[in-house]
Every structure is written in structure tokens, then in C-alpha cells.
Subunit: 296 residues, 5 copies
Amino acid sequence: MVLNIDDLDYLGLGKRTRLHRLMYEHGPGNGRLLILPIDQGMEHGPVSFFPNPPSEDPEFQFRLADEGGYSGIALHLGLADKYGAKYAGRVPIVLKVNGKTKIPSDAHALSPMTASVEDAVRIGADAIGYTLYVGSPKQVEDLNQFRRVKAEADRFGMPIILWSYPRGEAVEQTGGKKSLYAVDYAARIANELGADAVKLNVPEDDPERRSQQPAPYDSLELSYEERVRKVVKSAGKTLVLFSGGSMLGDDDLIYRARTCLEQGAAGLLFGRNLWQRGWKEALKITEKLKKLTLEL
Amino acid sequence: MVLNIDDLDYLGLGKRTRLHRLMYEHGPGNGRLLILPIDQGMEHGPVSFFPNPPSEDPEFQFRLADEGGYSGIALHLGLADKYGAKYAGRVPIVLKVNGKTKIPSDAHALSPMTASVEDAVRIGADAIGYTLYVGSPKQVEDLNQFRRVKAEADRFGMPIILWSYPRGEAVEQTGGKKSLYAVDYAARIANELGADAVKLNVPEDDPERRSQQPAPYDSLELSYEERVRKVVKSAGKTLVLFSGGSMLGDDDLIYRARTCLEQGAAGLLFGRNLWQRGWKEALKITEKLKKLTLEL
Amino acid sequence: MVLNIDDLDYLGLGKRTRLHRLMYEHGPGNGRLLILPIDQGMEHGPVSFFPNPPSEDPEFQFRLADEGGYSGIALHLGLADKYGAKYAGRVPIVLKVNGKTKIPSDAHALSPMTASVEDAVRIGADAIGYTLYVGSPKQVEDLNQFRRVKAEADRFGMPIILWSYPRGEAVEQTGGKKSLYAVDYAARIANELGADAVKLNVPEDDPERRSQQPAPYDSLELSYEERVRKVVKSAGKTLVLFSGGSMLGDDDLIYRARTCLEQGAAGLLFGRNLWQRGWKEALKITEKLKKLTLEL
Amino acid sequence: MVLNIDDLDYLGLGKRTRLHRLMYEHGPGNGRLLILPIDQGMEHGPVSFFPNPPSEDPEFQFRLADEGGYSGIALHLGLADKYGAKYAGRVPIVLKVNGKTKIPSDAHALSPMTASVEDAVRIGADAIGYTLYVGSPKQVEDLNQFRRVKAEADRFGMPIILWSYPRGEAVEQTGGKKSLYAVDYAARIANELGADAVKLNVPEDDPERRSQQPAPYDSLELSYEERVRKVVKSAGKTLVLFSGGSMLGDDDLIYRARTCLEQGAAGLLFGRNLWQRGWKEALKITEKLKKLTLEL
Amino acid sequence: MVLNIDDLDYLGLGKRTRLHRLMYEHGPGNGRLLILPIDQGMEHGPVSFFPNPPSEDPEFQFRLADEGGYSGIALHLGLADKYGAKYAGRVPIVLKVNGKTKIPSDAHALSPMTASVEDAVRIGADAIGYTLYVGSPKQVEDLNQFRRVKAEADRFGMPIILWSYPRGEAVEQTGGKKSLYAVDYAARIANELGADAVKLNVPEDDPERRSQQPAPYDSLELSYEERVRKVVKSAGKTLVLFSGGSMLGDDDLIYRARTCLEQGAAGLLFGRNLWQRGWKEALKITEKLKKLTLEL
């Protein structure tokens, strides 16, 4: 039930070559993706590194991606450029091409560009990451910006991973950014817009806010498994990666990973849950995740 | 009384070749257009697919367009690219080049770009679709965006179907988006701007809001037939396609189709009314619609 | 006292060739301009055509311009492209390159682009028309847009007729859009900006609002003739065309035309006053106007 | 103490050649500049010409510049193009490349472009004029616009005269647009931004508003002479031209001119004070001003 | 612990050549940077020069940079162009490419462009300076503008020094622009965005506002030394320069310099603290600073 590269028959040679590297030449190697993001220093600030101070040095994450055998590392141009050379060819790069700080508020969320597709080509990245805030008051600007990125990516044969995140007041009024309604919409949008992969949050079911959602979501009572499967289906021919979010206990993390993979996700894009642990623990949990991806 | 391709003597070779494919080489084949839109996943979200769950997979609509013998399928770049290859040459593509989500509100409606005319050329589309919100507070931005699209389309010989939709507060204050005043204006605009075809809603006559319209619309009492004929005339040398809107019963749908075609429409652009039905029912109603287009 | 083409010694070869066509090879032929506008379907909507239903078909206006022997017809790209071919070489085109609908309100009036100067060249137009809203809160955007149009027009040798219209709250507070102060300013602006011709409204003198104007306009009491002459002088080396506005009786229309021409206007740009009449009446009044231009 | 062309050792060949024409080949001929502006028809409207009706015809100012022997004439593209040919080579042109009308209010002052540096090259201008509203809420847009103009000017070797005018609410709250604080800042900005010359207003000292200025301006009590000298110093290696403002009596005008020139100004940019006088009077006062520039 | 040029192994040849000039061929010569900024005339206005009137002439700062042996001088294009020629090859230029005035308020801080990277190349600058207002409501515009600058800088091999300044209402609500939280974030951003060096303010610890910061900053009590070290670490592989801010006494200034250098800063970017002193005093304190950089 999981998409493999032959299901993505629309890929041109460049995209296929690059995705092949992420899916079969690095990481688990069976088509599943285990990607380590390190853009939290920009998105959340240095607070992200307090739980595990060595993680403040991006060398920590590069080494983890290398020794842990990740499919790739996702980060902004500055970190890629400054810390990546030593790992060239060993740790594939997913270049985040837009991002924002936690200040100011998310009310009009829009992530400006921090790099171009051309930068991704120049540094030998195997994919780019773009954050789209579905439903934000700035959605018009965001979609136009994405289109320009996609046109460049198509021209250069660069795969696109869409961080498809519901945001904004209108989203809050219809169940919130983690509601099934919102995440499901975000998944579909990724497919409609032609992303090659999409990063989603696991949809939550908050009984108190369920009725805020439009019909028929307001009356749906789906299990964790069913919700994951629903959004994977809505993503159609788009590889789905689930995020880890803030720090979870081991069991919760493994449960999340297992469920996502069982329900059709192409992979995991877990960050803080990995590198907010000390080195040995991070490696250990990495091994568990890789084992999961090989079993399922 | 219906326009045929020779009436559109302004068409250059490229536009004529492409329109010819839609009008005479696919679908009914007599110049009438039966186009299946599948952009609702973007415009309304996955809620659109609940009435008929298999329709969530765009393969459903492509197969329907193919087996039902539609003139073409209208959709965004992601779906065209990912699901269209198998149907290349069999199902002509109308590439929607702009669109928006249902979130946030329509108060300042403007559909950002999701693809370019060049994309349409690259994937072998036979027309593009552009949504213009006539009367929206963002009209200036919208018209400027349309002009850039049109310039590119003229350069590449790509026909333009204009989704000409009244929207916004000022429209609400003068009878609403489905009033004859609003739809009639939208039809004329399409002709003035040089669209090759226009998608319109069937104008409604709400006696309670009739007087909100400017003179002389405020005192017009036209029948369903007359209203349709009026807007077809206002569209002048622009092929008119009517939308189906939300789900109707069989009789209502056939009545709508027959009236539109009798009153001069070039064709129908029905989506949810087709693919929100199960497979067999969808094929059956398709047959009825095609029969109608051949009779009239 | 009326400018002839030799007074416009700044014209390059392209502009001179094209203006020569409008001034001496069509219409009255003595340098006076009689231009028929048909952009009201966009600016006011199909309401414009109710008084004379056949006028809804742009063929009506093209035929009137042809048989009536007008200097040219002014309209948007869609109408020019779709209806003009039959009249190529017989009815010169003034391509309106911007415009807007009547919805929404004029408070922040700005007309977005509907065509480019390159379009005008491509379709063989002899001039372009640009609407500038003098005094509008969007004036900065408008002037910048005009400058880009003018740069292209200068490059291609395409004459510019400026619809120079006062608009916006600040204008309303200083006597209104038809006050002498406002029209006089609009006339001067056309000369300063380098328009080749300017379309103006006849300035009105509303005794009740006279004092709202800045000094010395607040104490001027000029006759109809004097007001017309004043704004013609302010336009300097810019050909002045006066608009007809909404429907007038025959005598009023002839009086307006005569006065404008006597006071130095280069011509008339009357639309609704012509084609809101039936065919014969429209031809008859056209003859009268042409006779006037030959007498004066 | 006045800058001569050799002090401006940063000038490339193009700028030096053009400035040389203004400073030594026309006007007083000793490096001092006497420039006649005629952009008031745009900035203030035709009201400017009521005191001396013949001045409504730009021919009046061109002839005055020619017979009076001015260093140049400053105006917008339309007037330059239409009236300048006869004076080519005799009256150097300073092409104003941006400007605005008096309507609407100055609260968000920003002058849109009315011409490009390329236009200035095409018409053989010897400098361009740009109006910057220092402190305006639109300052970001204004500075970005200026930078694009400067980049073009540097590329083409075209000298820039900066109309450096404090404007906006924040300026009003710190002493007003003519306070020493504001004018001094405007002078420095011109030097920082790389203008070749700057047009300033003579700073006023309004005892009632003095304390609104930031320290130490709030406690400075400088004479007319000292204020002029202060801002000339702040302009550094930028030629300073002082404006005349609205109509002054002969003695006041000569006093202003003498003081400015004595305190280091490179010249005068007086408009209304010249051409709002009748022809003979205008010539006479011109002679006085030229004599002054030769004496000092 | 201080970065030397070999630690910056990501530098291409152009950036390395230029940075080498700043770090080893001028100034202390041991890799430490002593840069003299003179952009305060733009940022704060001529008020900056009252404490030491000769400093109003940029020649003062150029001479100080030359005789004092600074690594470079940081300033806008106008000053660089007009005053720099005499010092070409002796005083390296850091060209500020954006900036703003003190008017209007900082609430929506954004520094528009005043020069381009191409200008920097043309005038032989060895780095550019860009001011980013982290957390400003205009952050989206700012980051997009920065990205365009960085793309050009990467293309031309021009090093970027980022003035990374927290600003805006949201910043004020979380401890203020000099809080450890804010400065630490600003330091990390510089590294994420790929600046080659970053100018930071020394983070302050205001006990009253400490708790406004997000956890865990709200409970951190770090010494001056520890705060400096923290932000230097957050800047990672980005050379850190500390600003001097407004005038300090000699001891305070030396203490600040020593602490910053001891805690890993690459250098100092002190302006007013140098040139608001008289010539001899300025030279004397310069000598002290250079001695410090050689000792540490």
C-alpha cells in the first residue's frame, strides 16, 4: 500500500534520480524515508537546543544523520553550506527554501524565501522543502510564491517536499490546525499542487472541538489509525512524511512511527524527538525506527 | 444559434487547433463541450468526495472522462501531472492555472496562480482555465494577473476558459453572486477581456433580492430560459459553459442541461453532479447528457 | 487655435504616422477627431445596452464607426480582437489598455491593465487609451503603471490618449470630479505626463460647491465656453477630446459639441450618446457632428 | 568654501561631462547653478499660473531660461518633450523623474515615477531630479525606488539632484518639515545616498516649535545665516541648491539668495519667484541673481 | 576558540580572498576584526556628530580608519563613493547595502536598499553589511530582501556581515531587543541564513524584564561573560562582531571589548565610541583596542 518510486510515473529523470538517492541509496534503503530536520533553530529559536546542549552545534545532527544512516537531513542554506561539506555524498540534503521565526505571531503566517532552487542545485541537494500555510490570510502570497518555486523545481528536476501546515484564524475557527478537517485538506492540497512528498502532522481528534469542523468531519469519530490512513489517502500520489512534533516518550514515539508506517506513510521526518536526546540515546532510537521501516 | 469554430474567426492557428480538439475530436464531436472539472479538492476540500468515496482518487474522474467520452477534464497541475499520463491523447486537459482553498473567507476573493501557461504547453493541455472574481475588492490584482496570463496564452496559442464569478461585498449588496445583474456583467467581462470561453453559473431570480439590483435589472422578471439566453448573448463571441453547482436530482440536472444548450450555451462544465454519483450512475447520466448535446 | 499635427513637432515618426491616420485619413479628415468608445460594457456593465438592445452586439458600434465615418473606435482587447477583423483598415482602433468594472466602489479607483502596448502593435491599433484617476488614493500605483505604459508606447511609436479623470475622496472634498479645479488639474497633468491626447469631461460650475475649490477657483464664475477654453489651454500641446457622458437630447449634444470644438478641442469622444440611439438616428446625429467639425 | 567640480573627484566621465555643462557652459558659468523649475503644474496644479497667466504656457519658462541665461530648466517628461526641442543645446534639461499631485494629502507622501533615467538619456538631459520624502511613512518604498533610479543613473553617467524634503506625521511631531532638525537630516541623507546635488528648503526657526525637536536641536538658537551654513555642511560633498518657495518680495528674495550663496550653496532653484512675475520683471530679477552669483 | 579563516571552509575563493583582506591584511592582522562604522548619519541623523563636530566630515572617520589601522570602514554608498577614493587600498570598505532613518518609528522596522552587491563589487568593497530586523512585523519582506542580496553576494563572492537586530512589538513583549532571548535568536538566525559575520549587541540582563522571556530564558541568570559566550556559540560558524552602542567611558569600553574578545568574538564594530571623541583621544583608544586584540 505504500507508494514506491515506480508508482510515481510522472517523475522526470532528474526528480527520479534524486528521489532514488533518498529512497534507495540512503536511509533504510527500501523506499522508506527517515529524514532528520534541523530548521528548528530558525523556526523556534535556540530554545530548541537547551534539552541537549551539544545539539546546538549542527555538527551534532549531521553526525547523527551520518552514523544513524538517515535518508537525509533537512535544513536552511546557512547550515547546509557551513556544515555539510564534510558529509557530502554521505548525508543527502533536503534544502528548506523558506522559513520564518517564531516572532512575530502566526496570525498572518507566511514563510519568506531563504534560498532558491538554484541554490539547491548548486549545493547538490536531493530535494527542497517548502512550508505552505494552508488557510492563512497570506495564502494568496504563499501559493504564488510556491508556484514560482515549483516552476523552478520542475525545470531543474528537483523534488519538492511540502511542509503543508494549516494555520490562521479561519483554521482555528474550524477545529484548529491539527483537526482532521485541516490536515486532510492540507494533504489534498499537496497532491493538487504537485508536491512530490508532503510533511503532515498526525491529525488529532479533540472531542471538544470536533463539532467546529464542517460536515461531515464534525460527526466523524475515527481512531488514530483511521485518521492517519485518511490523510494518507487524501495525499494520493504524494509521498507522506509525518512529523514528530515536540518531545515524546520512547513508547509514544515508536507507536506514532509504527502507526504512520503501517497506514501508508512513506516515512518520518522526526527532529526534536531525536536530537533532543543525548548522543547514545538518539542513536538507539534511530536504530529502532530503522528497524520498524524494514519490518513494515 | 450556437457558436461554432468558424464564428470564432479571430482565433490564430494554435488556439484553433487546440479548440478543435476539444470541440470536434473529443466529447460529443459536434462542437458542443462536455467538460469534467476536478478542482473541487482544492476549492472545497476533501469534503467533496465523501458522497462517493472512490472519487477521492483522481483516477476515478480520469476514467469517467475517458469511458464517458468527455471533451476534456479540468484540473490543477498536480493532478494533471500525476494522473494524466495514462490518458494522454484520450482525455484532453484543461489546466486550471489559478485556484484557492475554501479557507479563508471569500470577502477578498482572489485565486493565486498554481501553474503557468508554459506548464499547460509542456503537458500538452488544450486550454487553460482561469478564475476571475468579478467585483471582488481584489479585482485590480485579479485583472492584472489575468492580463499576464492572457498575454502568455496569446503568445502560445492556448485557449482560455474564464471561470467568471461575481464575488465580494459590493456584489452581495447588489443582488448577490447569482443575480442576473451579476452573472450578466460577468458574461460581458469575459467577452471584453478576450476569453475564448466562459464558465458561468445559471443566473437565479430571487424575488426578495431582485430590487437590490441596479436598474433596469431591479424590475426585470425573466424566466429561467430567458435569463440563460440573456447571459449567453452578453458573452457575445465567447463560448459559454454552464456549471452544475452542487448535487442536483436527475431531472433537475437534465432540465438545466437542456435549457442551457437550447438557449445557446456551447456546453456544460459539470463536476460534482457527475462524480458524486457511483460509477454506473455517473456513466448513465453522462450518456444522457451526451445524447442531449447531439439532439440540440 | 486648434492644434494640428505640425504643432506636435515632438512626435517621432511612428506616433506621427499613426496619429495622421486618425486625424487626416479617417473621420472628418481635417485633423478633427470623432472617436466612438465602446468600453462601457466593462466600465458600466450590460446596463449600457438596454436603451438600444442591438448595441449589445459590438458589431453595431463597428458598423456605425464604419458607415458613419468615425476617426476610430475605442475599446478593450477582447472586443477589438473578436469583432475588428472585418473592419481592418476601415475603422482605426484605439485600444484601451486598462479599465475596471463599476463594482466595487470608486473610493480607491485604479484601472488595472487589460492589454499591453505590444498588443496594440500586434493588432494594428493607431493609439492606446489609458485611464488615469487623478487624485485617487491609488494615484501612486496609477502613475507608476502609466509610466510603464508610456515607456512602451514611446518605444513602439504608439500615441497615447489619456482618459484623465479626477476621482476619490480628496477630489470630492474640493469641489467634486467635474469641478473646474479638478478638470483643469487633470488637463495639465496630461500635458506634464506627455500624453498625446487627453479625454476630459466638460467642467461644470455648481454654485453650491464652487466655494469648496481652492483659491482662486472658489471665486471664479466662468461661462460654459470659458470653462471649456480654460481646460483646453491647460492641456497645452495635448489634443483635447471631450466626452459626451450619459444620454443628452439632440440640441444639448450639438451645443456641447459645437462649444467644445469652437473653444479649441481637437475632437469628441462620444459613446452612449451615439449608440444608445437606434441605427438611423445614430447615423443622423453622426452626420451632424461631422458637419460641425468641418465647419469649425 | 563652495564646492567646484574638482572637489567632486568621485564623478565618472559621464556625470562630470554633464555637470560641467550645467556649471560652466550655461548659467553664470562660474560653477554656480541657477535652475528654473517648472514642475509646479504637476505638484500644485494650474493654480500656480494665475498670478501671471502667460506662465501657463511652458514656452514662457523655456524662453525665460534661454534669454535669462539659466543653468538649466527642471521639469517633467511631457513638458520637456513637447516644448524643449526649440531650445535644444541652449537650455539644459534637468528631467524630474518622479512627482505627484497636491491631491490627495501629504500624510503618506511618495512621488511615483514619471520618467526613467533612460528617458533622460534619450532626450539629452544633463541631470535628473528625484523627490525623496524623508521621514514619510512610505520612506521604505521611496528609498528603494530611489536606489533603482540611482543604479540606472550611475550606469548611464547621469547626475542626480535630490529634492530632499522632510514630510509626514513623524516629521510634524519633531518640529515640522522646515525645522533645522528636519532639513539638516535631509541634507545628510542626500550625501549618504550619493546624490550629486540636493535641493533644500531654507531651514526656519520657529521659537514655538523649537523644543519639539530632538536634542541638541531643541536648544539651538541659530541665525538665518548659521542655519543655512549648518545644512550646507551636513550635505558634505553634495552641491546644495536652495528653493525659493512661494512668492517673496524683491528684497526678501535677494536676501535669501545672497545668504544661501554666501554660506556655501552651489546655487538656487527658484521657480514661482521668477515666473509668477511678468516677463520684464522676471528678466530683471534674473539679472540681479546672476550678478550675485558672479560677485560671491 | 575564535574562528579563523580555515574554520570557514565553506567559503569560495572570492569570499575567502576578500575576508582575508579584512582579517589578515588590515587591522590587527591576526584574524581579529576592528571595523569602524559611519552609517549613523543615516540611522540617527546629524545629531551623532554634535559631540565631536569635526566628525561631521566623513574624512574624519576615513583618516581615523587609516591612521588607526582599522580592518575596514562600514558605510553607505554615497560616503564610500565620495570620500573613499583617497584611501583606496588602504582602508577596506564594508558597504552597507540597506539602512533607514530614525524617522518614522521602529514599530514596523525594515531597512530599504541603498546599494546593491554589484555596487560593492564596482567600488572594490571587501564585504557588504545588511541590517535584518529579527521579529519585526516586516520580517517577511526583510527576509525576502536579504535572500536576494545573499544570492547576489554568493554569485559575486562577496562576504556578508549581518547586522542582526531584534525589533518590533513582539520583541518588546518578550524581554526587549537587548534581552538574551532576542540576541541569542538573532545570532542563530545569522548562522541559519548563511551570513559570514554577524554584528550583535551585547545581551543585557534586566532583572525586571527577565521573566518576560520564554522558558528557559526566563529563569536564566547569566553573567555578562556568560551571555556573550552564549550568543557567540549560537552564531556557530559565523564570525561575531559586537557593537559599541552609545558613548561609554574608557574603562567600560575596554571592559566590553575585552570580554567580547575573550568570549570568542571575532571582533568589534565600534563607531560612536571612537569618533565621538576628539582626534587624539580616538587614536589613543584605538591603540588600546588593537593591543587587546593582539593579546587575546
